[in-house]
Symmetry: C2
Amino acid sequence: MSFSSAKVEQGRRGTSFFNSRWVQAPDGVEELDPAQLAPGFRAGGAHCGLKEGGKTDVGLVVCDAENVVSSILLTRNASSAAPVRVCRDRCERGAIRAAVVNSGNANAETGEKGYADAVAMCDEAAAQLGLRPELVAVAETGVIGVPLPIETVLGGISGATANLSTSGGVAFSDAIVTTDRWPKRCTLRAGAVTLSAQAKGGGMIQPNMATMLCFVQTDAVVGDPDAALRAATDASFERITVDGQMSTNDTVLLQATGSSGAPLPEGLLEAVLLQLAIEVVADGEGSSRVGRVQVDGAASAVEAERVARAIANSPLVKTALFGRDPNWGRIAQAAGMALAGEDLEEIGAEAIDAAELAEDVAEAEIGIRLDRGEHRAHVWFSDLGYEYVRINAEYTT
Amino acid sequence: MSFSSAKVEQGRRGTSFFNSRWVQAPDGVEELDPAQLAPGFRAGGAHCGLKEGGKTDVGLVVCDAENVVSSILLTRNASSAAPVRVCRDRCERGAIRAAVVNSGNANAETGEKGYADAVAMCDEAAAQLGLRPELVAVAETGVIGVPLPIETVLGGISGATANLSTSGGVAFSDAIVTTDRWPKRCTLRAGAVTLSAQAKGGGMIQPNMATMLCFVQTDAVVGDPDAALRAATDASFERITVDGQMSTNDTVLLQATGSSGAPLPEGLLEAVLLQLAIEVVADGEGSSRVGRVQVDGAASAVEAERVARAIANSPLVKTALFGRDPNWGRIAQAAGMALAGEDLEEIGAEAIDAAELAEDVAEAEIGIRLDRGEHRAHVWFSDLGYEYVRINAEYTT
């Protein structure tokens, strides 16, 4: 057995934040130190012991402006983790002032104690910050099914509160990562507006760990934060797949103070979330290449989506991406499965552009295209290689 | 990286045909030499060059009785291979006398030439056998997207015709296999009835090859062959998954002469197809263990099915099966994904019996169970290990 093709990218592929060929940043965007949060926000982190080696595993981000507007998106998984349920049940979603997070334990499938623990985290953070608990979101990521050592975590929240700082972006980012190979964060200035963001990924679900978290802070004026976050998420996090597995803990939080007096530059939030989403795929479990499949035509939008997802989640297409195999037959097969029962003309080789699958170059971003009608959809996806098996089979509980 | 857990079963696990813990054969079934076909049938095979090393790659099975009844089930993949389309368009499904097969080339995604080639195979077999072409089914398996060397195949059909024999079951079985690690065939006697069957698998789709084929011959009286085959297939081939990929070439053919004067013993066809189906999973690409997930309760049959499939096709559950990890959190996560948007109570550990996932014993058949309502469904599935990646990534086109 050879591992020659298992070239895993060990870091980001450029020095610029916007390094994906698929992301178009708005003109005039300036990159700042990612430690520096958008004006009006402070963050901090601490180590309480959920992760080994003294790593930061508890964090807080807080908006000092009372008139913040916010939007929060939560996983729809019916096995949602306790923090997701607590946010859903208790948070004033449009006015979230702070978020308390931990990594190393997802607090998922932990029953009534888990729910009470997530409530206790909100309550503790609220008390430390002098806020009503309904204004504090909670997000957790890590092992599923293991009770949270709540006293330890509450101690960590005190520690994180003690080092809250306007330059706490890196500490907060460190507090949410689990197996990420590189951090996913930025602070950007565009005209009068500053936006900072921190994400973590690894897969829809990590080896015993769950998931995708993303936090965005800005001083822009955001009139309809739900619409803005929904639209930007639809075009980014909702269009990626590592292993097709919806997680128990996915959470995306946008907070905007409006203190700059200026609106979000058009396309900025979309570009930031898309870059972060593509990095989540690039840093998927054992992933070495990112594919983007585009179905350029289909009978309906629903059909285009179904075909694109079938291709992106096919283990045969994913291993072909890993093995640099321009195997358009597998793409046709997956598309045909998504269209089962229809009596189609063959999707011939001429309709499928799979050539990039075989490109054995430094290029880790591979586009494939399928053209068969009017409607469009596209999905970014990772390859499937030995590392995915190793991470998910050998880290036994 | 360690491969200690990648113990691949290199052969069948018993000397008896019915060797799965999940298959209950009817009482009084006697196993005969699988070369010996059911009375009234002859089969033969030849090497024409589609496979290397002189292996048998063309085959014929023919019923000498004019009053045969038959049923044929074909893949619903919208990218169906040419032979599937030809069977759909031309065959008199209830009266199929013969089937002509080849392995080494799926004749899928091969356009108009491919269709004409499959027609030519039927016509040649019909001419050789003195039958109308509408009474001859065609099935092919192997590489997708490669034109068939039709003259070579037609020559092979002549060769197979020349050695047609009542003891041609093994030759015919050899003619349909591709990467199978062991043959999947039997001849059984139950009372007055004899039934012979040959199948091939490897995955829903093979490395560049497609698929699952199964042929069944019997002298039993089968009043409604469509109903009999549909019911037995629903409980067997329709309940398995290797990689969730519906193939382009799946074909199951039942032929019954009625010459024994006796009906099929209750449960015989079901038991044979289930044993063959489980062997297809056991011999899946790189598979080392077979799981059976049973959702013992759900709000509806549709929901039970969706949850069972979500678990069986989760790469996280499959790698856990490979790694002997009793990871019930991944089962809860996959079930929750299948129930997305519902507001459920947690599916706690107590509802999930995943203990067998961890059994590090010779037992290659692993049962897991999820209990949460009224309705039931179950699916057999393979694990996902290094061999799957190797087979599908390293055999580049």
